[in-house]
Symmetry: C2
Subunit: 319 residues, 2 copies
Amino acid sequence: MEKMVIGIDIGGTITKYGFVSETGELFCEGTLHTGKHRKVKDFISELCTKLLALQKSNNYNVLGVGVGAPDGNYYTGAIEHAPNLRWKGFIDLAGLFKQSINLPVAVTNDANAAALGELIYGNGKGMKHFIMITLGTGLGSGFVVDGKIVYGHDGFAGELGHTIAVPEGRQCACGKKGCLETYVSAPGIIRTVFELLANEIEPSVFRDISFNKLTAKMITDEALKGDKIALKAFDYTGKMLGMKLSDAVVHTSPEAIFLFGGLALAGDLIFIPTKKYMEENLLTIFKNKVKIMPSALLNKNVAILGAGALIWNELKKNH
Amino acid sequence: MEKMVIGIDIGGTITKYGFVSETGELFCEGTLHTGKHRKVKDFISELCTKLLALQKSNNYNVLGVGVGAPDGNYYTGAIEHAPNLRWKGFIDLAGLFKQSINLPVAVTNDANAAALGELIYGNGKGMKHFIMITLGTGLGSGFVVDGKIVYGHDGFAGELGHTIAVPEGRQCACGKKGCLETYVSAPGIIRTVFELLANEIEPSVFRDISFNKLTAKMITDEALKGDKIALKAFDYTGKMLGMKLSDAVVHTSPEAIFLFGGLALAGDLIFIPTKKYMEENLLTIFKNKVKIMPSALLNKNVAILGAGALIWNELKKNH
């Protein structure tokens, strides 16, 4: 029987799952609508029924379950007040999974899971200190120090998306103003395009598109064709990210920063300005030392792999 | 023979030394002018001659040497290009000490040494995650994660003084603009008073004092007497520090932040606004969780104690 762990990524809309081997191969991927059940108990029960059936039909020897979830807390094994989920309050995920699958369960947030995936299966292999940045609807981050994820005092370390990029700047969904993720994320670059349309006079295809119709992918596509507003939007996004990464570097002095997610797929459009503005703002002793690189898992399902890496890591600790 | 380590704090002007017991008691304190010798080799030779004489006359069993120094690097045991020292370039401190005193030597920067002092002898005892802030001529910081100092990839982690508080703000001696320490440090609050004298019209005793005559201690004294410019200067200093501490918190999620140094002696004048503005800027999940406290070593020689703690810590690791 092949040794496997289960990796689960609970997203706001879709939950993805799969079986992850010790070397990071992914099998039997599947999905489930996160909002399908009013009660979290019913959701986990359906998910576990599916997983147990897959385990049986493939004759896997499953050793544990790793879960990445918004506001997932490594210490408590719970989701704590995630604004984007249907289930409110404190949800004891680890406890609920154990009721259906009597195996070790580990929980963390999606960005920490991605950082672990990078550490164990990706470009972070062999590195002791790095930062993982996930660029999606928000900006998530995971910090690796001395070869381990930093969870901090209460399990919520690594919320770089909510550092202040612009004092009294854009309104963030978290209630604060000027948070980095209001500038650097898929919605962030859309907001930047609309600010540029207001401030600049250059023609742009975006002058015929509504806010709700515009996507980050369209901005990438038009930037590649030379649209000036799109190019300026990427430069500004890189400026904000680079500036705040120069701050992050002095906290933990990483060897590398990995970018993952939709905006990272824009390649040079985002990497070149980010590197440029980070170097401009770095303290001399850090200049030209810190690599900014794409995640090795850019086209893979990092969330499931990371959740798998999380529980593999726990299982190794206990041996 | 009593077991001791030697703790040395190399400052820009004065070098302080002493013998530190395992429980953190300090004996035979002394000082030496850092700039006395043109060659660093001669300086260390004189220092070691003094220390060996003290060891002999007190019959101490000395187990190692800990050194805190500006830009001291834990990994290399060297001072690397410290702008405030007479000796330039790469100085192999650990190697030089070993030539005179054949014992284990450990080196780090002064803020990391202070953080270790707090961890082992101070209010950080038993804490796994905290930040130490030292407020003097500059703003130094040391990060503790999982009960250990964060040195990072190259040994320079924890340079919070050079995060950007105000983009394109005050000129910093490091060459950058708007660094936190240009606002939050002894010279920083003096600069703030002069900015306030320019912007406000309130009378103040400071309108009769030149820039070079003003000290941070005078600002504390006048604030306690109710001088409005002095009070506004403390509020602004706390605002800058609180704002940037709210950023620092999301990186490593500390249980507490300790303030040490001259400005920390101003008590409520600095602690109240710092706490207020930090809480205003904190992400909800961190609100009312992070303590801001004075260092337990506020009136002690934390630099020597911290250097002693550094080498005691190394000696324990090797057993």
